[in-house]
Structure formats: structure tokens, C-alpha cells
């Protein structure tokens, strides 16, 4: 998984960096003035990986940081990382469509952080799932509560009616008894004057009885109705009671957990301010007990929540019409499936565990020691001085500690010598510096045994390291800081790059500070060679650590305004024009322009040259000859891009000229414009495009070999090929040579008189043609004579 971009919030001066893309070719450079936030970016990325932050990274409002990284993801990658059977189908579909995955680490406090996936689609899916679940639980609970209330009300009414029924039963009985009695009375009073009264009363009683009976009949119907309803609601009622009980238990547990957490935090705070050892031990014990209690409560709460969910979901199904047994069976099955699924947090952790390892390179932390006991290596004693560097060394040479058990000392010595040669040859691929003129350094180790001078270790083996040259044999610590840094760096990076089982991102702050400019180029070379195996992000102020043909690698950092505590802003290459000149100064230094008067594109007199090296040389020649007209040399990134650049200027209606070397591509460009722009008119084409004379493939070929060696290469060596071929055949940087040459000219260390006749002739010829093309005058006294 390759790191594509990152976003940092609330980390030192960075409030919100926004998403910043890393370079596609695995090398990203952070530039900016001091205090711009470059190191903070690296530290934030390290914190993302390790989870560790310290108090001093917090901003004044104490808001917790949040660091997100987006990693490239393809089909084969995610299938290797996640078990697709553990992904809900919809989540799997979303994942299939992603070409990258964003993972964030957010801190809750200084010591606790969590990982989450920041992918919107996935997040929304899980949020939706959680919402639906929550809705289900809430709605079901609501329904249960409603059912409970309904039951209670019905029950109340039913009880009321039941009481009334009993009353009516009594009344009916009494009335029936009264009627019987009245009838008897009536029979007795047939012959006397009370019979009417008796009849009246009987009639009253009979009417009352009828009323009571009718009422009872209605009531009994209602009672049956209510009874049936109650029966219907009974299950729900008991469910609601059960769920409510669990809910209350859950709420209580939540409260307990919160209280315990607060208690724990207080105890931790108390512990941190105690100075007395005895009291500290006692407080520590108390804190540990509280932690255990807190963990227990958290587990109980989790179980209770699960129980609650189970019951509510069963209730939901029962409310839909399922019977209890069936509902319980189905919910159990569903939960088993869901438990098997990843949740967003687990998924985040899995991706995080497969994301690249971020490692911050700390120079001199892995310094090769003068010697180390073999025992310390075998027992992996990490705290022994130089252990890490030795480990890196052994890793690069594929040596296991068992190697040193070789009985035959001659064979062992031979093998060691072979390895020493191999690693030295490999090291020389990167370290081109010599001790003196041609004296290359050799890295080697030897196995020795302690003698009587170290009585406590007599006979025990140790490994001794040397950095030799032709004349001297010195311990690593006796060598210069530059060599030590580079060696430490080389060992770390090489060993780092060998770990292929997981991608790696190396973070380096200001590499090669103590190295000569040329050695800094060697550092860049190491980066270039290792970029296939790992990603590198580094900060720098040095133009020698920037490849001017690959400015897309750069992220420029600066403070938003001049206030000391203003936030950091990060510029990608597309928005460099809004960055300040000071921020972009390494680029300008590299490109040989002065900070204050840097001009690129003007309305007219823009002269397109093939590349940045040509830009430097032309600027230098222009200055050497003493031309002072306003001419703006515009470098294309490569000769193949000259056409695009010219078209761009054409589109912007800006005047331009082109100077090309005498080679096939140059001729093609010439023909292209002659055909498309100048209607095959050679004369018109030559008014705008100049191809250098035959033999001058590149601008540096106009110098005689002698001047090329003296003023550009600064080297005494036999050169029989063209200057440009020599540069190419020796893998030299034209840009660096051109930039250095321009610097010399700007510093007035070189004048026209320092060049021999051959160079001067060529320079005059070229610039004469150039000035003719632009319609400007050559300075007085400068003769133009074509080279023979």
C-alpha cells in the first residue's frame, strides 16, 4: 500500500494542512524556511504510525491532533488484506470501487488514540448501518413502551370493569333476592291495601334487575374484548418489561463506567503529583485496581448492550408476528453473522496493520561502532551502543550470527574478505568522494578475540569495524562527520529497503547537513536508487538535494502570514505561484535566479531553451559577453517539451524565440514549427528558431575541451569526445555544472578573456546569430567569427 497523500490537523503550527499529495515516484521533498513546519509534518506522520505524541505538539487551545493518510489500494491488495467473507456485501462492493483508502488516527488525550477509516463511502455505509440498527432498536423500544402503556391502561380499565362486574353480580344477586322477597310480600299482601305498593316495588326491582343484567351483559362482552386484547398484549408487555429491565441495568452500568473512569482519572492525576515513594506505590496500586475495575465494568457494559440488542431485536420480530422461539433463533443467527463481520474500527485497524511502516531516520542513532561483542549480537541486546548499525550491516550482507561459528578460520577470513569487498563496491556506487585525489575508502569488519588485556572477556569473540583507505586504517569514530553520517544513512536505508514484506516510508529531516555539495548529490542518488523499494519524505534547505527536473516532488511550507504563531500552509507544485520567494528559495538558487528580481515570462523576448542546464549556460554566456538587453531565457523541462512550451506562449500571445542543439530532436522541432507555424518558409523560421551549428549537440559543446575542463568540470582528465558526450558518459549532472558555471560568472570569477580562442570564436558566432535573430546589438568590440 503506497502512501498517496496526507492531512494533518492540530499538530504544532498545522491547524489543517488539507490533503497534500506525495510524489508519484516515491520521493517527496519538503522545503520552506525555518519554523515553517517541515519537521512537524514528518513528526506528525511518525505519530500517525506510532500513536505517540507529546505535550509540546499541542496547540494553545489544546485541541487534539488528527492525522490522516491515504494509501493506494487495488483489487489484489485489499483481497490480501481483508477476509472478504467478513465484510458485509454492501461494504465489499464499496471497497471494490475504491482505488485508495484513508486511515486516520485521532487522539482523545495524550496517551490514547484510535484508528478509523476515513473513507466517506464506507463511513456512510457503516453509519447508515448503525443508524438503521439504532432506529430499529429505538423504534422497537418505543413500540414496546407503547405496548406496555397500552397494556397498563387496558388492564386498568379491565380491572375497573371487573370490579364493576363483581359489583353488578352482587347487585343482581341482591336484586334477585329482593324480587323473591317482594314476590312473597306481594302474595301476602294481595288482600290488603299495600298490594299496589308491593307491585310497584316489584316492578322497580325487576327493572333494576334487567338493567343490571343488561349492564352486566355489556360489561362481560367488554371484559371479554379487553381480556382478549390483554392476552394479545401480554407477550409484548412481558417483553417490554424484560427489555426495560435490561435497559435500566445498562444505563446503570454506563453510569458506573463513567464514574469509574472519572475516579480513575482523578487517581492518575493524584499519582502523578506525588513525590513520596511510599505514597506513589500505594497510589499506583490504587490506580491499577481502578483500571481493572474499569475494564471489568466496560466488559460488563459491552455484554449488557449485547443482551439488550438481542432482546430488542427479538421483540422487533415478535412485533412483526414471529413467535418468540423462532425470533430468538433468527436473531441469534443474525448476530452470529454480524459478529463475524468487521466493524469500521476493526477494518481500520486491519488496514492500518498492513499500511506502510513509517520510520523516522535519526542520524547518528545508528552509528557503526568500533567494535561489538558477538554475544551482544546473538542475544539481540538493543541497548548496546551501535547495535542497530551493526544489525543493519549484517542485514545488508545477509549475515546471520551463526556465520561466525565457522570453525575453519581460513575459510571464515576468506568469506569475510569477500563480503567486505562486496559491500565496499556497493558503497562506492553511492559515495563518490575520495580521500585525496583517487583514494577511495573501504568498509570492512574483522572477527577478533579478546586477549589478556580484557581479562573478563578473554577468548570471547567480537567484531571490529574499520574504514580504511590506501594509507590509513581508522575506526569509524575516527572518520569525519560527513563520512559517518553517510555511512549511517547508507546502512539504514539499505537495510530498510530490504524489508519487502511490508511497504515502508522513510522520513528524513534535513539529510546530509554535514556533507559537501557533491556528497549531497550522492545522497540524492541513494534516494533515486532506493525509491523502487521504499517511499522517502525529506526536508531540506539545500538546492543540491533537489532534482530540478523533478519539481513535482516538492511541497513548499510557509506560515500563513508574518505573525509568529500563524498557521502552516502547504503548497503543492501547482500552486507555487502563491508561495513566497523566500519559501521557494532553494528552487531559485538551483535555477540560478536572484530572489528579488526573478522574472520568467514576459510579453516579448522570451527565449525558449531545451532544459535547465541550457538555461544556466545561456544566461552565463549572455552575461559574459556583456549583453544587457532584457531577454528572458525560459527552460523547457526537456527538449521534447519545447514544442508544448512554445505553444503555451503562443496561446498567451507572448513573443518567443527558440534555441536548439544540433541533433535529431532539435531538427524535428524546427521542422514542426516551420511546417505548422511558418508555412514552410525557412527564412521566417530562422527569424524565430536558431539551431546551433554542426558539432554543437548541446550548449556546452561550444566550449573548447580545455575551457570545458578548466571552467566547468574543474578537472584534469583526457577528454576525446564532445563535452556533452563526456557529461553523459560519466553520469554527471548538466544542471549542476551549468548552475555552478553561472554562479562563477555572476560572481565575476570568469570573464571572456579567460576563454581560449576556440571557445571565444564559438561563443561569438552563437551569440551573433542569436542577437541577429532577436534584432539586438552585440556589444562593441565583440567580433563575430564563425568557428573553423
Amino acid at each position: 500500500m503506497k502512501l498517496k497523500s496526507f492531512r494533518i490537523k492540530n499538530y504544532r503550527s498545522i491547524i489543517d494542512s488539507g490533503w497534500c499529495n506525495t510524489a508519484n515516484d516515491n520521493i517527496t521533498v519538503l522545503i520552506g524556511q525555518n519554523e515553517s513546519g517541515k519537521t512537524s509534518v514528518l513528526e506528525a506522520l511518525e505519530s500517525f504510525y506510532t500513536g505517540k505524541i507529546s505535550e509540546d505538539i499541542l496547540r494553545s487551545d489544546l485541541s487534539m491532533p488528527d492525522v490522516c493518510c491515504s494509501f493506494e489500494l487495488n483489487d489484489s491488495q485489499y483481497k490480501n488484506i481483508v477476509d472478504i467473507n467478513k465484510l458485509p456485501p454492501e461494504a465489499l462492493n464499496i471497497l471494490k470501487k475504491l482505488d485508495s483508502i484513508s486511515i486516520c488516527r485521532y487522539w482523545q488525550d495524550l496517551h490514547n488514540s484510535k484508528i478509523r477509516i476515513d473513507e466517506e463511502a464506507l463511513r456512510k455505509y457503516w453509519e447508515k448501518r448503525n443508524e438503521e440498527k439504532h432506529k430499529l432498536l429505538t423504534n422497537t423500544k418505543q413500540k414496546l413502551d407503547d405496548a406496555y402503556l397500552e397494556y397498563e391502561e387496558l388492564k386498568k380499565e379491565y380491572d375497573g370493569m371487573s370490579t364493576r362486574n363483581d359489583e353488578l353480580q352482587n347487585l343482581i344477586r341482591e336484586t334477585e333476592t329482593g324480587i323473591q322477597s317482594q314476590k312473597k310480600t306481594l302474595n301476602k299482601s294481595r288482600k290488603n291495601k299495600n298490594v299496589n305498593e308491593a307491585r310497584e316495588k316489584l316492578k322497580e326491582l325487576e327493572t333494576s334487575l334487567k338493567q343490571y343484567q343488561e349492564e352486566q351483559k355489556d360489561l362481560r362482552e367488554k371484559l371479554k374484548e379487553y381480556g382478549d386484547k390483554l392476552k394479545e398484549l401480554e407477550d409484548k408487555y412481558w417483553l417490554a418489561q424484560t427489555v426495560e429491565k435490561i435497559n435500566m441495568e445498562r444505563e446503570q452500568l454506563e453510569q458506573n463506567v463513567e464514574d469509574k473512569y472519572n475516579e480513575l482519572k482523578n487517581a492518575e492525576a493524584q499519582h502523578s503529583i506525588l513525590t513520596n515513594e511510599k505514597e506513589r506505590r500505594s497510589a499506583e496500586l490504587h490506580v491499577n485496581n481502578l483500571k481493572n475495575a474499569y475494564d471489568d465494568l466496560t466488559k460488563q457494559l459491552a455484554n449488557k448492550k449485547r443482551e439488550y440488542e438481542f432482546q430488542v431485536r427479538v421483540a422487533a420480530m415478535m412485533l412483526e408476528g414471529s413467535d418468540k422461539t423462532q425470533a430468538e433463533k433468527e436473531v441469534k443467527s443474525q448476530l452470529e453473522v454480524e459478529d463475524n463481520y468487521y466493524n469500521l474500527e476493526t477494518l481500520g485497524k486491519i488496514f492500518f496493520d498492513n499500511a506502510p511502516v513509517f520510520e523516522f531516520f535519526h542520524d547518528f542513532s545508528s552509528l557503526l561502532p568500533n567494535k561489538i561483542d558477538l554475544e551482544d549480537i546473538i542475544h539481540e541486546k538493543e541497548n548496546v551502543k551501535g547495535y542497530k548499525a551493526v544489525k543493519n550491516y549484517l542485514e545488508i550482507t545477509d549475515l546471520k550470527p551463526e556465520f561466525f561459528n565457522q570453525k575453519n578460520s581460513r575459510i571464515l577470513k576468506q568469506k569475510i574478505e569477500k563480503l567486505n569487498n562486496e559491500i565496499t563496491v556497493d558503497f562506492h556506487e553511492y559515495w563518490r568522494q575520495n580521500v585525496g585525489k583517487n583514494n577511495k575508502i573501504h568498509i570492512s569488519f574483522e572477527m577478533e578475540h579478546y586477549d589478556h588485556n580484557t581479562p573478563e572477556k578473554v577468548g570471547k569473540p567480537y567484531i571490529e569495524f574499520w574504514i580504511k583507505d590506501k594509507d590509513e586504517r581508522l575506526y569509524p569514530q575516527q572518520r569525519s562527520r560527513g563520512v559517518r553520517w553517510f555511512l549511517s544513512f547508507y546502512l539504514e536505508l539499505k537495510a530498510f529497503a530490504k524489508h519487502k514484506h511490508r511497504d515502508r516510508v522513510l522520513l528524513i529531516d534535513e539529510p546530509a547537513l554535514s556533507l559537501h555539495a557533491r556528497a549531497q548529490e550522492d545522497v540524492l542518488k541513494v534516494f533515486e536508487d532506493l525509491k523502487q523499494d521504499l517511499q522517502i519524505l525529506y526536508t531540506t534547505h539545500s538546492p543540491h538535494l533537489i532534482n530540478v527536473n523533478k519539481l513535482y516532488r516538492i511541497l513548499a511550507l510557509q506560515r500563513a502570514d508574518e505573525e509568529e504563531y500563524s498557521e502552516t500552509v502547504i503548497f503543492e507544485p501547482g500552486s507555487f505561484k502563491t508561495a513566497s520567494s523566500d519559501t521557494l528559495s532553494p528552487i531559485y538558487v538551483l535555477m540560478g535566479t536572484r530572489l528579488n528580481d526573478q522574472k520568467f515570462v514576459q510579453k516579448d523576448n522570451n527565449v525558449i531553451v531545451e532544459d535547465i542546464a541550457s538555461y544556466y549556460f545561456f544566461n552565463a554566456l549572455y552575461r559574459i559577453v556583456g549583453l544587457d538587453e532584457d531577454i528572458y531565457f525560459l527552460p523547457a523541462s526537456d527538449v521534447s517539451n519545447v514544442t508544448s512550451l512554445a505553444n503555451l506562449l503562443l496561446g498567451w500571445k507572448l513573443g518567443f524565440y527558440i534555441i536548439l542543439g544540433n541533433h535529431e530532436e532539435g531538427q524535428e522541432i524546427y521542422d514542426y514549427f516551420r511546417h505548422h507555424l511558418f508555412q514552410n518558409d525557412d527564412e521566417k523560421t530562422r527569424e524565430k528558431i536558431l539551431i546551433m551549428d554542426e558539432g554543437f549537440r548541446k550548449i556546452e559543446d561550444i566550449f573548447s575541451t580545455l575551457d570545458f575542463k578548466k571552467h566547468i568540470l574543474n578537472k584534469r582528465v583526457g577528454i576525446t569526445e564532445a563535452n556533452s558526450d563526456y557529461i553523459e558518459n560519466n553520469n554527471m549532472s548538466r544542471s549542476i555544472l551549468g548552475s555552478t558555471f553561472l554562479s562563477k560568472v555572476q560572481a565575476e570569477e570568469l570573464t571572456l578573456e579567460d576563454f581560449d580562442e576556440e571557445s571565444r570564436e564559438n561563443i561569438y558566432w552563437l551569440l551573433n546569430n542569436f542577437t541577429d535573430m532577436l534584432g539586438i546589438k552585440m556589444p562593441r568590440g565583440v567580433k563575430a567569427k564563425k568557428a573553423e
Binding site: T705, L706, K710, R716, V717, G718, D756, E758
Partner: protein, 273 residues
């Protein structure tokens, strides 16, 4: 056999061995000489380009560290006389390099200027011998005098690495000095050889030579012949035809040398325009 007889027999054996080895060496050197001479321009070629000329060539050994070389490119004729470090076999090897490089450098149209030919030669020597100016390096190389003569314009360009060119016009000597640096690395950072240009009139004579003649020890006081005497000698023989001048030089050299050993290879070329 007596001890004396044994000794005598051993001596005889060793003598024959040495003789055999000497013979083999001589044969080898003869062949080397043959190869070297084949690389030099032949008489016909020289006569075609300069009908009136002489070449006084006296190598010290069978093979020579001195060489001469001739080429025509269109209307221009290039003549070079070189003196390589050492004489004998090592010098001969260097001379082969010199001839090869001259062939390479002049194999282009238009022909480079005389000084640029020497500049290019120096680069090739430095590259071939891996010279970078380090104090511990062997400073092998060659001294050379070279001119490019344009038959049309009658202009002669001269450039010399230590060795001069003597130009006689109406019997008067005009010396064109070579630069004080060899074809090869030396103490200072390399700079361009000087290109001298003169106009040639009909009847003018030009001499190119190595330092073998002037460095020859001899005379009554066992001294070097010296440039001063050489200049005087050439001036004195101007009234003579070139063919006679060669004989005179030969005679004078032999006379001066006397019984002393020849110190170095000797090469003097004279041309009449």
C-alpha cells in the same frame, strides 16, 4: 673432465645462449623497425607533397622514439615531427600512439587548426595514459612540431609542443617557438597551444626537427651541440640545395659526435616551398 674444462664448457654454453637470445632479440627488433617504418610516410608521398625536401633520420636504436607524419586534406598539407618520451622500444610505442592519434584527429573536413590538432592530441594522450596531473604519475608524452600549409592561400600555421619551427626567407631565419608544454600532462593546468601563422613565399624553407641533433654530446669539450650552433649551421647551409643540406648535416653530426655514443634519436626535416 678437469675443472678448467668444465668452466670452459660452461662459458661456451652461456656464450651461445646469449648469442641466440641476442639474435632473437635483433630479429624481433628488426621486425619492429620494419613495422614502424611502414607507418612513416614513404619517400614518394613526401616527394609528391613537397618535391624539394630532405629527411635526416638517425634513430639511436633499431626502433625510434622520434617519428614524422604527413597528410593532405584537400588543399592543406600537415607535416609533424615528434619526439616521444624515451627512445628505443618505449619511445617506439609512444610514436605509434602519436601517429594513430594524428590520423584520427585529421580525419575530418574541414581540418582543424594546427594548435587544435595538438590540443586534441594532448587529450588523447592524457586519456590513454590516464593522466590527471597527480604528482606520482609518470609524465609520459611527446614533444612535437607541426604545421598546416594551405597550398591555395600559402598560409602556414604552426604549433609546437616544446619544439620550434625554423623558417628561412631569403636566407634569413625566423624562429617560431613552440609552447613550453608537452603533449601530455605537466605541472600546470592545460592551456591551449599557440597557433602561429605566417605567409610563405616561393623559395622559403621550413625546418622541423627533434632535439636529438642539438642534444648530441661531442666536440672537443664533450658538450651538447646546442640550438645556437644548430641555427648557425642551418643558416650557413642555406645557399645549398636541400639534398646537399642533408649530406652536410649528416657529416656535421658524425663529426661532432666523434667516438661518443649517439645520445638520442635524431630527426631533421627540411622543405622548400
Amino acid at each position: 673432465m678437469s675443472q678448467e674444462e668444465i668452466r670452459s664448457s660452461e662459458e661456451e654454453y652461456l656464450k651461445k645462449l646469449v648469442e641466440r637470445q641476442q639474435k632473437a632479440l635483433n630479429e624481433s627488433l628488426e621486425y619492429a623497425q620494419y613495422i614502424q617504418r611502414v607507418l612513416f610516410p614513404d619517400k614518394d608521398q613526401m616527394n609528391r607533397m613537397f618535391p624539394d625536401n630532405f629527411i635526416f633520420f638517425s634513430p639511436r636504436d633499431m626502433v625510434s622514439g622520434d617519428f614524422y607524419w604527413l597528410r593532405q586534406v584537400r588543399e592543406k598539407i600537415v607535416l609533424a615531427v615528434g619526439d616521444c618520451t624515451g627512445h628505443g622500444v618505449p619511445g617506439a610505442f609512444m610514436s605509434i600512439l602519436g601517429i594513430t592519434f594524428l590520423n584520427e584527429i585529421t580525419n575530418r573536413d574541414p581540418l582543424p587548426k594546427a594548435n587544435r590538432i595538438l590540443n586534441s592530441m594532448r587529450e588523447r594522450i592524457m586519456k590513454t595514459l590516464n593522466q590527471t596531473g597527480d604528482k606520482k604519475e609518470l609524465k609520459d608524452g611527446m614533444d612535437i612540431a607541426l604545421f598546416v600549409y594551405n597550398q591555395k592561400t600559402k598560409e602556414l600555421q604552426f604549433s609546437g609542443a616544446k619544439n620550434p619551427l625554423y623558417h628561412f626567407h631569403n636566407g634569413t631565419l625566423n624562429e617560431l617557438r613552440g609552447d613550453r608544454m608537452p603533449i601530455g600532462v605537466y605541472a600546470l593546468f592545460e592551456s591551449s597551444f599557440t597557433n602561429h601563422t605566417i605567409k610563405i613565399e616561393p623559395g622559403d624553407r621550413v625546418y622541423l626537427f627533434t632535439d636529438g641533433f642539438v642534444d648530441q654530446l661531442g666536440g672537443s669539450e664533450f658538450k651538447k651541440f646546442k640550438f645556437k650552433n644548430f641555427r648557425k649551421l642551418l643558416t650557413d647551409i642555406q645557399p645549398h640545395e636541400l639534398s646537399e643540406q642533408k649530406s652536410i648535416l649528416d657529416h656535421k653530426f658524425t663529426e661532432w659526435k666523434g667516438n661518443f655514443e649517439q645520445v638520442d634519436d635524431v630527426l631533421v626535416i627540411g622543405v622548400n616551398f
